[in-house]
């Protein structure tokens, strides 16, 4: 059979989307920084490209990460993506095999069954035809599941599913129609021309007995082509852009390109790569406060559509819980921060007053202790650290004992990078002037910024949990196990933010009975007090906190240990569970040891430990 | 505004004002600012009301301006005041009639001090005796000159040839009354009607047919404030205060302002010119100012006295619009003529068509 007019919608659609993609990806890549461009050139002909292909296969086609989260959801995504991919590949092979040519035009492969007048005769042809039928059924099973998911997302292990807009609706509807229409068109053709295979032929025969299928053949092929065309046309305004863009993302990511502190082609690529699967919704603690429209998936959508409001952008704890869950591996926190930088760039402060030199001159020292603003409101942490320093005979400079600028991290969390730079510069000069080798920090918020943004050559930045572990390992701290069950809350900025999971646990294991929990380390909760969220109300913070505390209470701990003054303050407000910083716990254990040596404890079963409130 | 409420307040603040035989003490500055006013007062009392009022040419300044400018100490001013009382006592008078509000305040302040601290009185008697050999009695009645005019307001109304009425429309003239701060703000019971709603000028205005305007900044100081004016760099404060009052009274379209203080009419009058020079702003109709009168001038106009005889040409804000409204005949040619009829030159005036 010769090409007929119904192929045109498909062909035009395909041409359109191909051109569109080439242009838009071209724009994005050309807007990358010179360094990023050179990264592409340096890596394109290396193993990294092959690794990218492997990753594309594993993630974009097989959806391994989703499989890990939920098998049915994984199967659904895999059947659609991998199934469709195979349909195209096998379809082309089938067509090439039939026409005995290596350059078969796309429409001939896509509408192959329309162009053959009889069933395959060769063995290879038969196998290919049968696999095509099976693949189509495989894809259709995915489509069925997708229908089902719309109706009931809980079956897929998801509490929520994303809401759709018009572009997405068109694309989604046409996507859902493509495969049933193809199946019907092929079956009807098989009923008329007997060119089907193991599934389409019986279906076609059955339809032929029931219906005047002659009348349906051409409309069905038209509809199939039309739905493909519609899908291609709707793609640029739909979430299905993620299909091609994710491929680009994987390559670029493997070449070492990351989201920077400004909106760039790469951040646009990340934004377009969001498939809006909604997996990020589930792990989001904002749900506990009934805030349901500020999660990453929605914010990325608004960023893409350029209609993001501050109310949504800033209503996020930046706890990063959603990030490990993202099947596309998007840098969700950084994308949001980049947008926050953009949104607040008009009004950064310059802190001219820092130049007036109200701060003390830095003394020469080996060790600097920087407590952090918040720690000044938790004197128990301060006192513990001071006592431990004294015990370990460490000479140190308490840098922010008085009159010291903030570390700058709280500003960065709300996008005020330019303002933060001024504070960083100021503090950095003071730190460097001291000639210190070590900077011990009690607040994870400060710790992260000192570590990542301060450029302190020759100075080791340590959170006090790392530092205390070091002192312990050097036998500079007495060890005494407190007979109490402790659960440890990972502060976001220390855990997911800086990868410090083990040091606090090693310490607590040594000094207490540390109880492991389900949601810890990468999956740990945010306390709800995060400074990154400037929109959330106090009662909403409390709801988030109480949810977390309720789960912790399930482990029946004696105390809750954490390593952040803000987490401590946040939890302590509820009075549900005594909460102490790790430094307090260790100092108390040491004290307890001293007491028991002195033989003052009569009843050993009752731990006579008093914490400061 | 409820009249009954005000009447209630006025009734609460009735003061005793002597009936006759006054020892008159003049104001230092009024004789320069409004030289005809005190003369008019004496004329009214002697000629119209037939009262006995005596003044001794040897009386001095009470030194109140020096006192309020932190230059004259309290002991000194007490002794100076005691000397005035000695002159009064020597002349056989017991009632003092004070022309100046500052002096009135000073006399009251000192007499009250002596009541509270008799030792002070003895001390001052001693001072005066040592310094001048004089002795004195504390006056039995201290009245401000406006109190006396207030007391005889009905008599003046009967003798009067004019009323505070626009003779063309027949409507009462709208009058802003401004009371000197030291009249009753220090001792509300010493002023007719108290400090919040003083009645001394309002009573005259009402008795003579005018309508009192009660505008929001009524209580506000004219801005003199002693050092506010006396030190040039402070004068901006003085103008600002007057300006605040003008702005507040402007919507009521007052026909004139009347005051019972030496400084207030001076500043309310002169600052209108200054503000016009600085900002081009005037507060009366058609770019005119609001005429500012002393209560003696107001009484004099009611009694049909020649405005130029009362020194009303000394006002910087022209009074002619008011004279026209009241239907008072005057000869514009004689405004700047001296007693011999010779022209003495024209001062700069607030725009008023002349």
């Amino acid at each position: 059979m010769e090409p007929t007019t119904f192929i045109w919608p498909f062909t035009i659609g395909l041409l359109f989307i191909s051109c569109f993609l080439v242009i838009i990806v071209g724009i994005w890549i050309s807007s990358l920084s010179r360094i990023d461009k050179s990264r592409i050139w340096h890596n394109i002909f290396t193993r990294k490209s092959l690794e990218s292909l492997r990753e594309i296969f594993m993630e974009s086609l097989l959806h391994r990460k989703i499989f890990r989260k939920n098998a049915v959801l994984g199967y659904m995504h895999m059947s659609l993506a991998f199934g469709w991919f195979l349909l195209i590949v096998v379809g082309h092979i089938d067509a090439c095999n039939h026409f005995q040519s290596l350059s078969v035009p796309a429409y001939k492969a896509i509408f192959f069954r329309f162009y053959i007048s009889e069933a395959a005769t060769t063995l290879s042809g038969k196998i290919l035809a049968a696999s095509m039928d099976l693949l189509l059924v495989f894809v259709l099973s995915g489509v069925m599941l997708a229908y089902f998911k719309r109706l009931n997302s809980r079956l897929f292990g998801m509490k929520k599913t994303t809401q759709l807009k018009i572009g997405d609706r068109i694309a989604l509807s046409s996507l859902w129609l493509i495969f049933p229409l193809r199946f019907l068109a092929e079956s009807v053709s098989a009923g008329i021309h007997h060119n089907g295979s193991i599934i389409s032929q019986p279906t076609g025969n059955m339809l032929a007995t029931l219906l005047p299928i002659h009348l349906f053949e051409m409309p069905l092929w038209w509809a199939y082509s039309g739905s493909l065309a519609l899908f291609f046309m709707a793609m640029p305004v739909s979430r299905y852009m993620h299909i091609p863009v994710e491929v680009v993302l994987i390559f670029l990511r493997n070449y070492g390109i990351r989201v920077k502190k400004r909106i760039s082609g790469f951040s646009r690529i990340q934004v377009y790569s969001c498939s809006r699967c909604g997996i990020c919704l589930d792990s989001c603690q904002m749900n506990h406060a009934a805030i349901k429209d500020t999660q990453s998936v929605y914010v990325l959508k608004h960023i893409r559509n350029r209609n993001i409001t501050d109310e949504k952008l800033f209503n996020c704890l930046l706890c990063g819980r959603c990030q490990p869950d993202c099947p596309v591996g998007l840098e969700l926190n950084d994308l949001r921060i980049t947008q926050r930088i953009e949104s607040t760039k008009e009004y950064n402060s310059s802190y001219e007053y820092l130049k007036n030199g109200k701060v003390a001159v830095s003394p020469q020292t080996e060790v600097i202790y920087f407590a952090g603003c918040m720690t000044h409101l938790t004197p128990a942490i301060l006192k513990s650290m001071k006592e431990i320093f004294a015990l370990a005979k460490v000479k140190y400079w308490f840098m922010d004992e008085d009159k010291t600028a903030c570390c700058g991290r709280p500003l960065m969390q709300v996008g005020q990078y330019e303002a933060a730079k001024k504070l960083i510069e100021h503090n950095r000069e003071r730190i460097l002037a001291s000639g210190a080798k070590k900077l011990v920090v009690s607040c994870p918020i400060c710790y992260k910024v000192f570590n990542e943004d301060y450029a302190l050559p020759g100075i080791k930045v340590q959170h006090h949990s790392e530092y205390l572990l070091e002192l312990m390992a050097e036998n500079r701290l007495p060890i005494h196990k407190l007979p109490m069950r402790v659960v440890y809350h990972d502060p976001c900025e220390l855990g997911r933010g800086s990868g410090i999971y083990h040091q606090p646990r090693l310490l607590l294991d040594e000094y207490t009975e540390l109880v492991p929990m389900k949601n810890e380390k990468e999956a740990s909760y945010c306390c709800g007090g995060s400074l990154a969220n400037i929109k959330i109300q106090m009662n909403e913070r409390n709801q988030i906190r109480d949810n977390v505390l309720d789960e912790y209470l399930g482990y029946q701990p004696d105390i809750l240990a954490t390593a952040c003054p803000l987490c401590k303050k946040t939890f302590a407000k509820s009075n549900k569970l005594p909460v102490h910083d790790i430094a307090e716990v260790i100092y108390m254990a040491i004290q307890q040891k001293n007491i028991s040596i002195a033989g003052e404890i009569k009843d050993e079963k009752v731990p006579k430990v008093e914490f400061w409130r | 505004m409820k009249k009954e409420g005000k009447i209630q307040v006025w009734q609460d603040y009735q003061k005793e004002i002597a009936d006759d035989h006054y020892f008159y003490v003049r104001s230092c500055i009024r004789q320069n600012f409004f030289p005809g006013s005190e003369q008019t007062f004496l004329k009214i009392l002697r000629k119209e009301l037939g009262k006995d009022i005596y003044e001794n040419p040897h009386h001095t300044s009470c030194s109140g301006i020096g006192y309020h400018s932190d230059i004259v100490p309290f002991d000194t001013i007490q002794t100076i005041v005691a000397r005035q009382f000695a002159l009064m006592t020597e002349a056989g008078y017991q009632n003092i009639a004070v022309s100046c509000i500052t002096s009135f305040g000073i006399y009251n302040e000192i007499i009250e001090t002596w009541k509270e601290y008799p030792a002070e009185l003895e001390k001052v008697r001693n001072f005066l005796k040592k310094a001048t050999g004089r002795e004195f009695e504390v006056p039995q009645n201290v009245a401000h000159a406006s109190d006396i005019v207030y007391k005889f307001r009905e008599d003046i109304a009967t003798h009067g040839k004019f009323r505070l009425i626009n003779h063309k429309t027949g409507k009462p003239l709208k009058v802003v009354e401004h009371i000197g701060c030291h009249y009753s703000k220090m001792f509300p019971c010493k002023g007719v009607g108290g400090a919040e709603f003083p009645y001394v000028l309002a009573g005259m205005i009402e008795a003579w047919g005018g309508e009192v305007i009660d505008y929001p900044e009524r209580r506000h100081c004219c801005g003199f404030g002693f050092r506010q004016y006396l030190i040039m760099s402070n004068r901006g404060y003085s103008v600002s205060n007057s300006r605040k009052k003008f702005e507040s009274m402007e919507p009521y379209k007052p026909d004139f302002i009347v005051s019972n203080c030496p400084g207030c009419p001076m500043f309310l009058d002169r600052w209108q010119y200054v503000i016009e020079e600085m900002e081009g702003k005037t507060f009366g109709p058609d770019g005119q100012g609001i005429p500012v009168l002393t209560y003696e001038e107001m009484a004099g106009l009611v009694l049909g006295y020649n405005p130029w005889d009362m020194g009303m040409q000394m006002h910087q804000t022209n009074v002619e619009p008011l004279l026209d409204k009241m239907g008072i005949q005057y000869d514009p040619e004689l405004k700047y003529a001296n007693k011999e009829g010779k022209q003495i030159g024209h001062p700069t005036m607030v725009r008023c068509g002349c």
């Binding site: 501050d310 109310e311 800033f314 607040t344 008009e346 009004y347 402060s349 310059s350 802190y351 007053y353 820092l354 007036n356 109200k358 701060v359 603003c373 918040m374 000044h376 409101l377 008085d402 009159k403 010291t404 600028a405 903030c406 700058g408 709280p410 500003l411 709300v414 005020q416 303002a419 504070l423 400074l531 400037i534 929109k535 959330i536 109300q537 106090m538 009662n539 803000l566 303050k569 | 040039m232 760099s233 402070n234 004068r235 901006g236 404060y237 103008v239 600002s240 300006r243 605040k244 200054v274 503000i275 020079e277 600085m278 900002e279 081009g280």
Partner: protein, 114 residues
């Protein structure tokens, strides 16, 4: 204009009738928790920036409520957003958002700028 060596001095009085409430309304609408400020001054007492420069968080509320936009703009910039004040506030006011809202909205309403 004649120079007398002095001029009419601008009043220190807050004239509430001249108050332009747009900035205040915008901030309160976006952050209603700010309505309940008691002017206790706890925020100022704990303020990290106040250690280094004269900066009074409590006064931001007053400047905003009295329409002192010019001063507000220069003052608000001093905040380092460390968040200590929020741990102290007895009324649970979301102070950091207030600061950010003012910084943003003042660009629109500052009479000097516009």
């Amino acid at each position: 204009m004649k120079d007398f060596g002095y001029t009419v001095i601008k009043q220190r009085t807050i004239d509430y009738d001249q108050f332009d409430g747009r900035l205040l309304n915008e901030v309160l609408q976006m952050e209603p928790s700010f309505k309940v400020c008691l002017s206790c001054g706890g925020c100022t007492a704990t303020c990290s920036a106040n250690d280094l420069v004269s900066f009074n968080v409590r006064r931001m509320n007053l400047l905003l409520r009295r329409g002192e936009t010019v001063e507000l703009e220069s003052e608000i910039k001093k905040c380092m957003l460390c968040g200590k004040c929020m741990l102290v506030c007895p009324r649970g006011i979301n102070i950091r958002n207030v600061i950010m809202l003012i910084k943003k909205s003042i660009l629109k309403y500052n009479p000097v700028k516009s």
